[in-house]
Amino acid sequence: MFKNYLKIAWRNLWKNKGYSAINVGGLALGMAVTLIIGLWIQDELSHNSYFKNKDSIAQVFQSQTFNQETGTGPAIPRPLEKVLRDGYADNFKHLVMSSWNISRYLRYKEKSLSKTGNFMQREAPEMLDLKIIKGEKDGLRELNSVMLSESVSHALFGNEDPIGKTLKVNNQYDVMVTAVYEDIPFNNSFNDVEFLMPWDKMIATQEWMKNAEDQWGNNSFQMFVQIADNSTMEKVTEAILNVKKNANEDTAEFNPKIFLFPMKDWYLRGNFENGEQVGGRIKYVWLFGIIGAFVLLLACINFMNLSTARSEKRAKEVGIRKSIGSQRNQLINQFLSESFLVVLFAFIIAVIIVLLSMNGFNDLSKKEISFPWNSTNFWVVLLVFITITALVAGSYPALYLSSFRPVDVLKGTFTSGKYAGLPRKILVVLQFTVSVAFIIGTVIVMQQINYAKNRPVGYDKAGLVQIPTFSQDFEGKYDLMRSEFLNSGAVIEMSASSSPTTQIWSNRSGFDWEGKPEGFQEDLAWTEVTPEYVKSLGMKIVDGRDFSREFATDSNAVLINRTAVKYMGIKDPVGKFLKDDDEEDPGPPLKIIGVVEDMITQSPYEPVKQGVYVFDKHGNSSFYNLRLNPNQSASQNMAIIENVFKEHFPSLPFQYDFVDDEYGEKFAAEERIGTLSGIFTALAILISCLGLFGLTSFVAEQRTKEIGVRKVLGATVFNVWNMLSKDFLKLVIISCFIAIPISYYVMNGWLQDYPYHVILEWWIFAFAVIGSLAITILTVSFQAIKAANANPVKSLRTE
């Protein structure tokens, strides 16, 4: 019986190639979108699945309140370790202090590479369950040891056995390779941990870290834990919530809360607002999940509409089958098997589409996704996916078609009745509501990106290059390098700074100034710079003057930005002082010599943070900022700069970044979403139009005789076109009226996440309405004009 159903289905598909192409093609597109989104979601959800202990690992987070604003983050003070180890050891299986992910030059013989890694305590490899390829898992036991990822080991040693070999770190100290571990895969936190060195080594080599041992106010470290087997995240958090406050009364005024942030939430739910966890990337998982479901629904609607629209053709078959003994459920089965067959076809095409577009999608979404053909679960999910699609697409037509009464349809007087088209119309409205909403959403996302991109950044980011200078080799070389670079002709100005142009690495508080409000707890972005900073970046001085080497007193001078003036509430800031309020060991007062234009260092969607630029008298620079010679090409300049660099630092790799590119990275996430939603919108519209095209051609065919009669009676082509198009245009207009308020509500909510955002304007909505009407007219007209131009004699003779 089933074979028979399939036979009929196959012949039906073959006989009506046009409809089949629309049906299968539309479904295939829809399924391809859903598949690819499904894979993307799976990839997002499987983040950190490399770590066996994923469910019991957490990072220790801290939230503190300054001026009624609660900030939350991973930075914790060093003394917290001792308190937790002494008083709360039962709660933890492992407790690991860690540095940030920092870059170090690793040199073996003549080969030097800049790699990123962490300094962590001994239990880290055990806690993360690193897969050891060579050497021992307990590789951080000795002070002068290093564990390398497989690819770093390979890059440094090639085929040599790395175990026991000695590396020089930052040209400063030697460590011995104790282990090589499998690279942590792309889709995981710690992916950029290319080496591990002992926490104690970092303390031993950095004076400030030793000092931080008892400083409760110095939140500059990270702590990872694995909770005890019999405990839960909530229990441990409850136990340690107030440890900092209790251990150190001075910090109580900031109400510090210490809590666990579970690994399974790191990637998807990493946003905090006023101390509360408020989601994160998970919202994009939902967003794309919804988009995927809708696109599939659109394709299913095509199937439903085309099947029911053609019902009059199938009606006779239903009648005959019923009269020779078929029961209704047998017919339902038949029609469902038909939709199953169509969906299966569509699925195969969808898989091919996905395979072909996988590379492009991976580039766009910055992922490494592929079909997990070897996973049983995957096949089960696919089967469920096909079945659900077939049921969604096929149930309504199956129920509808199988309901015909044989007496009616066999008499030949069967017409679908006045309201038979109503569900079809509702479905078309649903399709276009989704499409119009997608159009509006995409336009707004694009607008928001452009809006933020066009925001003045406060400096000239074109032709600006930064070179990281973390290695010991750079110490005391600034003046020399500056004159070398300037003399080379490739650079017209150069400065050094303690953080990159596009980020804030340090914040400070603990100052007093004239007019400071009572009890005000300031938080200032802190960048140490050489006197040429303003000039090399092309920033603008709006008040006072720039740093100058001619004034010896400038070593205790600062520039502040416009926002800082407002934030601190200083009138006439130039000439005023920032006084260090540390009672025991106050630094010298810092004189404000000028005010600079705000410069975007963090998110381009947020207001600029109040910032202080401090004369760098200790040589704390982390970056050189080079203003390239505008009269030569960038590649010429870079070739010259590389030569100069190699001359002075022969053992270091030449690393640099164009500030332009770094700044562009800030838009990457939004741009990805914009591009993807643009593509999905285009596909959604294409699918809807495909359905509309099928429906119009059907309607035109059905009304051939009517059109013939009308033409004989004198109707013009325009009359006929108007008659056929009007119905569909009406539906699309209704869709617009539904889509506009919904998308306004949703997109307005989305924009609220960005303090700096576009205002929703009416023309966006007008654009979407006009656009979708134009698309509808184009789609419908093709068939309508064809029908209107047909020779009426022909169409009337066919009866």
Binding site: N4, K7, R11, E317, G319, K322, I324, G325, Q327, P406
Partner: protein, 225 residues
């Protein structure tokens, strides 16, 4: 006795008026009869046939088929009843266009859940019996009207029904083809199949053993009804 209709009424309401399609029909059909139903267009012939064939409902009265009270049966049981005992032959053949002759013949057996081997032998027998073996792989559109109707009758007969209901079976055929079909009916009737046919043609009616005349939904002269 094969079936019995007692006081069957069927009506539709149109504009506040009740229009009777069938009015007080009483009919007893014994096995082996060959009945012709006649009457002008709109007199209710086809409606009567559909009611007998259980494709259509009636509003009042009683209908028993092989002593089963049809009016009280559920849809499903009714379908089982006619699937087993009734075959239809239509004026416009109503073959399934997408299936070959052989597959069309097989269809009712599939719905009766007849096993594969038995199905094959029944189809082969029937093709043989109606002399259409050579046409088994053709589609209906490749056959003449007479051939299509032959297949239609073969399909109605393949599940060995007790009763054949034929709605103007020769209406779309030329007189020679029509005659052949009627001869076939006669022969089937002689083999014991009960036949009820609707016809416009006095000549075709003479093949039957008895004629029922309808006018505006009423019987006008039922011979020993």
């Amino acid at each position: 006795m094969l079936l019995q209709l007692n006081n069957i009424f069927k009506w539709v309401n149109s504009g506040g008026q009740r229009i009777f399609l069938l009015k007080d029909i009483n009919l007893t059909v014994a096995e082996g009869e060959f009945i012709s139903v006649m009457g002008p267009s709109g007199s209710g012939k086809s409606t009567l046939l559909n009611v007998i064939g259980m494709l259509d409902n009636f509003d009042e009265g009683e209908y028993s088929f092989l002593n089963e009270p049809v009016h009280t049966l559920k849809e499903k049981n009714r379908a089982n009843l006619y699937k087993q005992y009734i075959g239809f032959v239509f004026q416009s053949y109503h073959l399934l266009d997408d299936l070959t002759v052989k597959e069309n013949l097989e269809m009712p057996l599939l719905y009766k859940k007849v096993g594969s081997s038995e199905r094959k032998s029944l189809v082969a027998d029937t093709l043989d019996r109606f002399n259409i073996v050579g046409k088994k792989d053709l589609f209906p559109s490749q056959l003449s009207g007479g051939q299509q109707q032959l297949v239609g009758i073969a399909r109605a007969l393949i599940s060995s029904p007790k009763l054949i209901l034929a709605d103007e079976p020769t209406g779309n055929l030329n007189s020679k083809q029509g005659e052949e079909i009627m001869e076939l009916f006669k022969q089937l009737n002689n083999e014991g199949v009960t036949i009820i046919q609707v016809t416009h043609s006095e000549k075709n009616a003479t093949y039957g053993s008895r004629t029922i005349n309808l006018l505006d939904g009423r019987q006008i002269n039922a011979l020993n009804g």
